[in-house]
Symmetry: C2
Subunit: 143 residues, 2 copies
DNA sequence: ATATATGTAACTACAAAAGTTTCATGATAA
DNA sequence: TTATCATGAAACTTTTGTAGTTACATATAT
């Protein structure tokens, strides 16, 4: 099933943005994640609506962070991208009259809810500035 | 994104199978889950390969459980359906040279692995015979 | 023999992200 | 004020795997 890689891609972009002081164009960002500028704008527009980034047109225009990386969690970005379910597993018609079908769906839903809650909790505990800080730090020491 | 409802559907079918003593045709099962017999066979074939059901052709043929519901967990069925990721969230190219991209992917993967482990653990704790047993019991008392 | 079922191949439909093309709009620089 | 640069947005096509469908071969019980 096709994966939604917008979260991974846009996090990558945001961490780069945090290290650059001037506006970055969607053209440059598209290079970072090997895609098309329009794809970038589409996703970044969702973050702008949620006030995590700003965009300016024209000469020296582009995208900037609206707040420090330390003030943004993975959960914030995940939520800004929309509400779609995080699971590929779907339930059958929930309006079924069949008690067995209802029971199956309740069991699956309970487990999925628990797993999703854990995931969102963890996402909420990670801010973008601490994203792999240890790895990047050790990399800088090597150069 | 399109959901994979095979787990939900096939669990529904299996619990019914546990309550019926004779072989059930894919035609009847298709009615249970409002679909086509071929769709049913396709999914049931995966369970047969994993030895959870048997099928017989011809007159009075159909599908039967190969073992009691009590000996099958949700995890067993989940595994029998294949190995695809349970998450709609995907990571970008994991062979990237970019340290930031790597760090983002590690963070996401860690969280997703933890959530998946919890989910699979729960699936392994639920056998098909106890699937909503309390609900079905209370339903029977009401009739 | 005949009716009944599965087994399987070869399609089409669908949904949502991703990719692409194109052009309007606005901002800066010269 | 004009050329250039950048976003904004519409209108597509592509992609990928489940789901749905049609058709037919094969095996089995009566």
């Amino acid at each position: 099933m096709r994966k939604d890689s917008r979260l991974s891609r846009v996090l990558h972009i945001l961490v780069h943005l945090g290290a650059i002081d001037r506006p970055v164009t969607s053209e440059k960002m598209a290079e970072m994640i090997s895609t098309n500028p329009v794809v970038v704008r589409r996703t970044m527009a969702l973050l702008r609506e949620a006030n995590y980034v700003t965009s300016t047109k024209g000469h020296h225009g582009g995208w900037k962070l609206a707040k420090p990386l330390a003030d943004i969690t993975l959960l914030d970005i995940h939520n800004a991208l929309g509400e779609g379910s995080i699971f590929t597993i779907g339930l059958t018609d929930e309006h079924s009259e069949c008690v067995i079908e209802q029971a199956v769906n309740v069991a699956l839903k309970d487990v999925m809810n628990e797993a999703e809650a854990l995931m969102l909790k963890r996402f909420g505990q990670i801010t973008l500035n601490q994203l792999g800080a240890d790895r990047i730090f050790s990399y800088l020491n090597d150069v």
